[in-house]
Subunit: 327 residues, 2 copies
């Protein structure tokens, strides 16, 4: 698969979006890590849309809810890496039968998800890097593309400019922070639990790291804490020996992150803080930099995860249940 192919697929899907009579709502539907990728897109719609509404939903929950609003003025964006996640395939079938425009992301053209969807976009999979044709970037392009096509949102050029800078930026950060990453892995190799915390566009990255990396791939207990919720319950769990990984974003949610960090670092002696500003992300175009932070944190944290797995002698590929049995 080439970058050209992905670009052409996005462009075809967006032409269909433009040709639609009306678009009132985007449902972002997936499971697990793919669902986590949807969360920043719901946030983008929340912040940027004039009238269109965005909802990220777990695919099984989407089926259970069966929103009555689902119909010809809905767009359903689905994602499954293998294209075989049964809940996601079923959700797309339900959506398509209801008349919604269906656009799916999958790594595998020819998969059941590809076949179920009206439009499919394939992408490059390389979790420790980022580019405009990685899945998380493709989703961001689709979201802004829809807002441009339907509401005249003018940020696509800035987004394109910023995305072009990400491959080099992510590689540079990974290179510059090698010592920090190794220190993190050593310090946490016997940790039975690590919390993650973020807000705004980055909450999905914190959620993904908690459920897909720590719980799933490392069997380390975890929970993603929304920085806006921290002071309303979770902060009481903070103690000198309770480790947190906190993401500090850009844009208006940064205030929430900073407030939580100021408290957490006073009482936990095991804070790992990744700050988008310190990582140089504020140099990206202002109008979109906030939304690009998850696209940098995501591969960067994957490198942390690899190193942690190595320190623990527990590779990220190990599973005891997933793919080992029926469930």
């Amino acid at each position: 698969m080439t970058s050209n192919q992905t670009d052409a697929q996005i462009s075809t899907a967006l032409s269909a979006v433009a040709a639609r009579d009306a678009v009132r709502e985007i449902f972002f539907v997936a499971c697990g890590g793919s669902y986590a990728h949807m969360l920043p897109n719901q946030y983008i719609v929340e912040r940027e849309a004039v009238a269109i509404v965005g909802h990220a939903l777990n695919a099984a929950e989407f089926k259970a809810c069966a929103p009555k609003r689902l119909g010809k003025s809905s767009i359903v964006i689905a994602c499954s890496h293998s294209g075989t996640t049964p809940e996601t395939v079923e959700a797309v079938k339900i959506a398509r039968a209801a008349g919604a425009l269906t656009i799916s992301l999958t790594h595998d053209l020819g998969s059941p998800l590809d076949e179920a969807s009206e439009y499919t976009v394939s992408y490059v999979h390389s979790p420790q890097t980022m580019s405009p044709v990685h899945s998380a970037a493709v989703l961001t392009r689709l979201t802004f593309g829809i807002l441009e096509a339907r509401e005249g949102n003018s940020k696509v050029p800035a987004l394109t400019e910023a995305l072009a800078k990400l491959p080099a930026l992510v590689d540079k950060i990974a290179q510059d922070r090698k010592t920090d990453i190794a220190a993190f892995a050593e310090a946490h190799k016997r940790a039975p639990l690590i919390y993650t915390m973020a807000s705004g566009a980055n909450y999905g990255v914190a959620y993904s790291f908690a459920i897909c990396i720590l719980q799933e791939m490392q069997w380390i207990n975890s929970a993603a804490i929304h920085a806006g919720e921290y002071f309303h319950g979770p902060f009481e769990i903070t103690d000198f020996d309770v480790p947190f990984i906190q993401l500090i974003g850009l844009g208006p949610s940064r205030t929430m992150d900073e407030r939580a960090l100021a408290f957490a670092k006073k009482y936990s002696k095991c804070m790992t803080v990744l700050d988008a500003q310190e990582l140089g992300l504020a140099a990206l175009p202002d109008s979109v930099s906030e939304y690009l932070t998850p696209l940098v944190f995501s591969p960067f944290l994957r490198i942390y995860a690899e190193k942690l797995g190595a320190s623990r002698g527990h590779p990220l590929t190990v599973r005891r249940y997933m793919w080992q049995m029926e469930y």
Copy 2:
């Protein structure tokens, strides 16, 4: 405060809803435990509304998002027990300035939240019981009341009938399950971590128990796992000695709960399962029973929490940071 006062306040707010030119969206805005109470209401709108959209948002996140859609056709329902949560008060001020209809729940008439809101509903606070004038029930009445006023939803009579049965039902369940509750408290008194799991209308209860009871009031590590997400990451953390509290609901999300339970109980020997069907909730009117399950699980789990706190010598009232300092 009497039941009559709450009823009259609800009725006044719903008259204002009916008098509105248009209602396109309900934002449910709060923090922590109050935010958790909003989640089943977002689910109700998702399932029941013909055209109205529902969004539950943490109040600080609501402020950061500043949705452009917020305006005269929006309703903002906010909740803060003390009526002093600064983020929630500010969110209501923003919403009201944008022309939205604001309805707030607070225990304290005369509080800043009451003063900031156009309409206020006060409620009875007694966490181990349930009645039509408890906060969670009031929110459900408001949500269905809005759907009735704006879209002709016909479930209010069934809801009223069901809510009237809850006080006796909750008391009976608590009485019947005394032995189970005591056994849970003894078995978990040294647990460093307890996961909660649920889906659909009950996810908010699982979330609330994780962040407000376990993390905040017991300093026990926790995370709420959505049953629909369980197989896409979190299930790999399951092991014989990892405790879960799982809520099994009614309605279409029950399938998700049952699938997760079937797996979890095979590999964890510390499952605590509260099943709405076994608790007799299926006897409530069919059309609304699904939405009433959180109103039973919530006080029932509070009794579990009290007993757990007693077994651990750590009362639910203890805090180390909350109310002890500025943050």
